[in-house]
Amino acid sequence: MAIVNMKKMHLLGLKREKATILRALQKTGVVEVINIVEEAAVEDIEQAGEVQKNYVNQELNRELQELETKLAELNFGIDFLKPYVKSTNPLIHGKPSIKKDELSEILSKESSILDNLQAVFDLDKQLSQLKTEETRLIGQIEMLSPWRALDIPLEELGETRKTVFEAAVMPRKSRAELDRIITEEGLLAEIATLGESQDDVYTLVVYHKEHKENMEKLFKEFSVNLQDFSNFEGTPKELIKAAEKRIEDIEVERGTIKEKSKELSDNLRYFQILYDYYTVEKDRKSAFLKVTDTDKAFSMQAWLPEEHEELVKSTVSKVTDTVYMEFSAPTDEDDMPVLLSNAKLVEPFEVITELYSLPDPRGLDPNLYMAPFFFVFFGMMLSDAGYGIIMSLLAGYALFRFKLAGSGKKFTAMLFLCGISTVIWGAIFGGWFGDLIRVKPMWINPLDNPLSVLILSFVMGVVQIYVGIILNAYKNIRAGKVADALMDQGLWLVLLTGLLMFVMPELATVGKYMAIFGAVGLILTQGRSQKGIIKKFTSGVLSLYDITGYLSDVLSYSRLLALGLTTGVIATVINTMAKTVAGSIIGYIVMVLIIVGGHVFNLAINVLGAYVHSSRLQYIEFFSKFYDSGGRAFDPLRVKTSYVDLEDI
């Protein structure tokens, strides 16, 4: 199966039935509308009809913008009301499904629901006003509290007939100095302390008008700040009390708003349903923009998976008779989207390829060939049966309990499968939470004999690289280039096999000749696209340089051993540390804590490592041999909702 074959649909229909037809297609969820407007617009930009089309598009764009605004408002309402509703987790219970009559009932009372949305906005506005007021009051209290001891109403400060009253803040040092100067010079002035802070003194200064100039000079000299209370009435104490009272009131008002919000919280469900309904409508309207119109008819093109051709035909003919449909296979110029379809066991590994890049629509789906290697490598790098069991149990629980979909589901399933692989490798290497549970390894403990495991790692690397080369040859053969397959991939296989046999004593002679044959063949063939005998020869010789690439690729697989050792040794360290504290009761408690915490940490860090490095081996070592990436994901027009399942719209 691999990459699903796509078909291109051409559809001609009546303009007045455009909405109906697109609605029906949206319900099937298997059709991706192709944008044919842009191309057309460039061609006949000069034509008179352009004005008309632009007008239609403007109309559509305006409608879309209105929908966007509505969706943003509904989204705001949903976010506002969410804290007031104890909702069920959609991850566990799935989305509630909405029947058709329920939806039409909700749509019929839409205006009252939107009134409630307006009420939500009002409540939000009130809340932010209260917040502003509260901040202002808190600032005011902060400003006034040093003046608490001042028992004169603030509006009475200032000048009387003969005297001046000023509230002044001065540095502690200046206070004594001022007093001294006032008595020395015999000024008619008095300073009364009202409050103190760390560095400053808050005072009331009273002086005779005659000495105003002297006093102002002194104020400047001793950096005394005069406080301006021009907007206040009453004593500071009264003002603070009033502000505190108001803050209490604000809290009460908040409570009322909360109550009102709670009353409105029934609307959350309606908001969510409307949100989903309009999202679906927006998606459909966006598709309108990709369709070309004439006076009475419209024409559209779309991609759909081959297998759904009949379904689409019958769906459309059910809603209308006046329609013309044609299905054709993609031509060479077409840029069709990519949809993958794999066996159940391979499907979870698609996520690895998707995170890299989807295959070219005319290329090869690598998942079937990549999945077994990823499965094996992941297990070998984590290589602890205990960790594998935990991982599979957690992933299995998540799959069973949560309603996962898309990439999340694939990823969890991938972890579940890789957990099984980890158990197998753990048993082979004898790792059960490190050496916590001592089980004899089925084959070998990599700590005792790392060289054997290293050789096994290299063998796996060689196998994967061979598969990569063979897949590339297959790709060439499929494209009818058998000669290329023989010369480019076949000769390399001969050379590499020869070199491998050369390393083994009993096969050395055969290997030598095979390698020489392969190398000579490569020198003779690799320059065939060049012109001139010298260029042909030099390119051929230079191509042998690729051998270093293959060597480094194989060596890269040594990480299979290295990461496996890491898991095992750190687990052992944790166990050793735990054992040293055992003895007393507290010791045993600490021991359990170390074991649990340590193994959780080790598991987390090594699952990440195993995932990253298994992926890397696929991306760099395997995919580089044959994989053509660059596909675009199939994104059909469908009923895509966030909160509820709309059964029928």
């Binding site: 290293l454 060596l555 890491t566 750190i570 360290v573 050793t576 990253v612 992926s615 890397r616």
Partner: protein, 159 residues
């Protein structure tokens, strides 16, 4: 208990194998953490992806710890009785600690810089985070190889 020069050298090697990659990883993780914190201020939802990138340069510290642990196990420190080691063997053990000590230290910092750049991918195109992770993993290859060299050398020495 009197220590021989060989034992001191071996222990010194183990100390460097744990210490240098540890410093490197701390710096690498720190570099990514700074970028990640900036990203999370803008979009707290990307914490998970940023954390994965931040964890990547942390592995060198673990590799170094692993090498150091294997070394002190080799000289019998864990069992409580130090094996008698000649100065010659001590130098061998010291030398075998060097690959991970040096490569671990430097590669962690370089990997941290790549991963920090990967934070940019998370901020603009979070769906492409796997590519950022792969770029960072390219750097780690050399730390893995150094660890492997250290382990193979260590296992090859007879004491």
């Amino acid at each position: 208990m009197s220590l021989t020069l060989g034992q001191v050298l071996a222990l010194f090697g183990a100390a460097l194998a744990v210490g240098l990659p540890g410093i490197g990883s701390a710096r690498g993780v720190g570099i990514v953490g700074e970028s990640a914190a900036g990203l999370v201020t803008e979009d707290p939802g990307k914490f998970g992806q940023a954390l994965i990138l931040q964890a990547l340069p942390g592995t060198q510290g673990i590799y170094g710890f692993l090498a150091g642990f294997l070394t002190i196990q080799k000289i019998g420190l864990l069992a409580g009785t130090l094996v008698n080691i000649t100065p010659y063997q001590g130098w061998l053990i010291f030398a075998s600690c060097m690959p991970i000590a040096i490569v671990g230290f430097l590669s962690a910092i370089y990997q941290g810089r790549v991963a920090a750049a990967g934070i940019g991918i998370v901020s603009k195109r979070p769906e492409e985070v796997a590519k950022g992770i792969t770029f960072a993993a390219m750097v780690e290859t050399y730390a893995v190889l150094a660890l492997l060299a250290t382990i193979l050398m260590l296992f090859g020495i007879n004491v």
